[in-house]
Symmetry: C2
Subunit: 255 residues, 2 copies
């Protein structure tokens, strides 16, 4: 079994190292990861400068470090770096959760989505703690999941977005299959004034997860609040099929 | 009617100016756009440096230029810059098409998606020619569409991704409601060697649109090939609901 491993926290990130240690026991793992943190780069790809890929001695020497985003890493690995195609692409373990609309911003999620776009099964995995994350349960969960995932066809057009509570194994209350919930950022910018008197804005804000009657309990944000591992199937076809008929009527007199 | 206008080709881009000229006849338009080209930044947002927003005299002085991505521009506009909330957010007119999986990489599409995430109706609009684009038909199409869109609830959870052939009006064969098609990039990297003998990779590649029996004729790529305006409803909820039950069975013995 061959696995391509990437992330958005950089090749030095602990979450990547912990997951690699587990996976190398069950698979041939190649790491292709960014040279620096590329969190929140979304599905950005690098077009204005050329990409470099340097072999590194990390990860038993089966690794490249790339001056690009996670999506760049996956694209470059598949098209130029790997001698053999992987059976599976995994992005993570991300430091901090990727829930609700976070998945649009997340480099980790986009690395995995790029895998599906290129025709490979792919998983994104995150732990829900940023300051002092515990990656161990997430890593062992993924290593148990991988052989099973490869026996199914679930992942042919679908990426699995997995969030794992940063808790000791005995505190985790099972696995839930979830849909994307609603996560909002209140006051997302902090306006400050620089020493020359000019305004600037730092992105930040307070996270609010909406968990109520209307939104239901089967969401990723609710699952994490209940100390469960959340597994959300994410599709790469973003067409809203339900809206197509409505739109056809609507455009009748505009054609 | 109030419109927030953004793009990813920068505040100097012609496509933005042509669309603004049309829209200012029917609405109050505020422009918040990147200071430089931010194509292919996907849904990236800026967290490692602070954002700056400078008022500019362009667009009758109702404009800010921001050192960020289109998603940054929309987020900052809604949360900090605009005195009144817009009725609609439009991103474009993009130079070059955004079809199939392009929408993951496109800054223009992500600017509009950010609008929907924040609770506003939003449209992304692109013309299908890169080298010598003709924006006129696209601009007049959007200005006819806007008042109609605002009378519906289609856009509450759905972004309209519109691609317009870069052709004279008489050559355009109507409007089609489409789903996302399949666009692939063959040999996406060109490997070169720098003057010091080190390898580097330029992203490029040849675009191939898959239009066949299996993929059907109702896709965005097929519609553009037939010289029609393509309107694709894009959802912000990326959950693959069909996959959820399958996954529940699958995870039964992993919990």
């Amino acid at each position: 079994m061959k696995i391509l491993l990437t992330n958005d926290d950089s090749i030095q990130a602990k979450g990547l190292a912990v997951l690699w240690s587990e996976l190398k026991e069950i698979a041939e793992v190649v790491v292709v990861a960014p040279d620096r943190e590329r969190s929140a780069t979304g599905h950005g790809i690098t077009m204005d400068i050329p990409l470099r890929a340097e072999k590194t001695s990390l990860f038993d020497g089966k690794a490249w470090v790339v001056n690009g985003t996670p999506a760049d890493c996956v694209k470059l690995a598949i098209n130029c770096l790997l001698e053999e195609k992987p059976d599976l692409i995994i992005a993570g373990i991300n430091r901090g959760s990727n829930l609700g609309a976070d998945i649009f911003y997340s480099g980790t999620v986009s690395g995995a989505l790029e895998g599906v776009i290129l025709g490979f099964p792919a998983i994104a995995v995150s732990v829900t703690e940023y300051l002092n994350p515990d990656y161990r349960y997430a890593a062992s969960f993924i290593s148990k999941l991988v052989p099973k995932v490869l026996k199914t066809s679930i992942c042919s057009d679908t990426m699995l977005n997995i969030n794992v509570p940063s808790l000791a194994p005995e505190e985790i209350r099972g696995v839930e299959i979830t849909r994307l919930g609603t996560r909002k950022y209140i006051n997302p910018f902090e306006a400050r004034v620089d020493p020359r008197g000019k305004a600037y804005y730092w992105l930040g804000g307070e996270v609010v997860d909406i968990i109520d009657e209307a939104s239901g309990r089967d969401t990723d944000v609710a699952s994490i609040q209940e100390h469960k591992v959340s597994v959300t199937p994410i599709q790469v076809d973003l067409t809203n099929y339900r809206a197509m008929d409505t739109l056809r009527d609507f455009f009748d007199d505009l054609s």
